[in-house]
């Protein structure tokens, strides 16, 4: 049986469950904040930029980004692991999902920083 080098599968799944439950809460807060103003106008350009300039909202988006990326990419890893049973495939899938997760978090964080105006 193949072992994970850094974390045991139970530790990975613990992170998976915690990020899943935590994401439910922060996404709920995110949706409730959208409903503070009429839903249609909340998606207008000026309103979206205004939200990004609110530091609390920017932090909330960053938290959602990190939680959903970890939970989502680990879920994808779990699905792909079942497709084939070879150590090479398992290691490739694990490496690819970790790289994709880090890439998405970096790209998303960059977007949040630019829209927030912290970079200027």
């Amino acid at each position: 049986m193949s072992r994970n080098l850094i974390l045991r599968e139970s530790q990975i799944m613990k992170v998976h469950y915690i990020t899943g439950v935590a994401a439910l809460f922060v996404v709920a807060v995110h949706i409730l904040m959208r409903l503070v103003v009429p839903y249609g106008s909340s998606l207008e350009y000026d309103h979206v930029i205004f939200n990004y300039h609110n530091i609390f909202y920017a932090v909330l988006l960053e938290v959602i980004l990190v939680l959903v990326s970890i939970h989502g990419f680990n879920g994808l890893r779990v699905i792909l692991l079942e497709l084939r049973q070879s150590t090479r495939w398992e290691n490739s899938v694990t490496a690819a999902t970790i790289i994709a997760m880090i890439g998405l978090v970096i790209y998303g964080t960059r977007t949040i920083i630019i829209a927030n105006g912290l970079g200027t």
């Binding site: 049986m1 193949s2 072992r3 994970n4 045991r8 599968e9 139970s10 990975i12 799944m13 613990k14 469950y17 779990v78 692991l81 079942e82 497709l83 049973q85 398992e90």
Partner: protein
């Protein structure tokens, strides 16, 4: 078999001989049925009076040995424990257990199933088993301690849960519900000293976490064992939600 309430049911028996050819087909056998006739009785009638070449594995005829597992009308069941009259309809379809390689007809290969089972050391691990005197040599257990694992010790290793498991169907490295249920049976036993090492046996990429909790394993068990419960209890111990008393 004779009597006033006797009727005939058609057995559709899966036929295959993988050593000779890849062709498979169903053989139709009309067998007499009474209220108490089991599928195994019907198959043995067909083997005696219609086609002696039908391959079946069976032994005890009383749901104790777990040899006659097969897919009957689409559901994994023991042929000796399934009455034809209770299935309804005029046709009973007998196929080999899914998730097992076919040897011939209804006989499947259990090698991999038993390999998974052996890997979790399905016996009491106890280094402190020194028998000094009659008083201390007993591993006494309270009724509560026995209750924690008793239902899991009823497993007869028939493989029905393994054949019903959707994860086993896609992931051959997954130990399967029978193995995981037995792992829980020994982990929960107060006489066992395996402790965390037992949990580590199935804590890997193709281990216990690949269970999707479909629950079909518990549904098909002919002995009333609930492997899905054992798997969830093991997960709770691994996550630290539950603590195994005394370990």
């Amino acid at each position: 078999m004779s009597g006033a309430d006797e009727r005939k049911i058609t057995l559709k028996v899966f036929r295959a001989n993988t050593a000779r050819s890849k062709n498979t087909y169903f053989e139709l056998c009309d067998v007499p049925v009474q209220r108490w006739t089991t599928v195994l009785d019907g198959l043995l009638y067909a083997k005696c009076f219609i086609d002696p070449s039908i391959g079946i594995r069976y032994s005890c005829r009383m749901a104790s040995c777990g040899s006659c597992g097969m897919k009957i009308n689409g559901i994994p069941r023991l042929a000796c424990y399934t009455k034809m009259s209770e299935l309804g309809g005029s046709e009973v379809i007998c196929e080999p257990l899914p998730n097992f390689p076919i040897i011939r007809d209804l006989v499947t290969d259990f090698s991999q199933f038993f390999e998974h089972h052996k890997r979790v050391q399905p016996y009491i691990l106890n280094q402190d088993n020194h028998q000094t005197d009659a008083e201390s040599s007993d591993h006494r257990q309270s009724p509560e301690e026995v209750d924690r694992f008793l239902q899991f010790s009823y497993c007869i290793k028939c493989g029905l849960c393994y054949s019903a498991c959707p994860t086993v169907a896609t992931d051959l490295k997954f130990p399967g519900p029978q193995t995981l249920g037995q792992l829980y049976r020994y982990y929960a036993d107060s006489r066992d000293g395996g402790g965390k090492d037992r949990l580590n046996m199935v804590d890997d990429r193709h281990g216990i976490w690949r269970c999707h909790f479909a629950g079909s394993c518990s549904k098909v068990c002919p002995k009333g064992v609930d492997p899905a419960l054992g798997i969830q209890l093991l997960k709770s111990y691994m996550l630290g939600i539950s603590k195994n008393r005394g370990k």
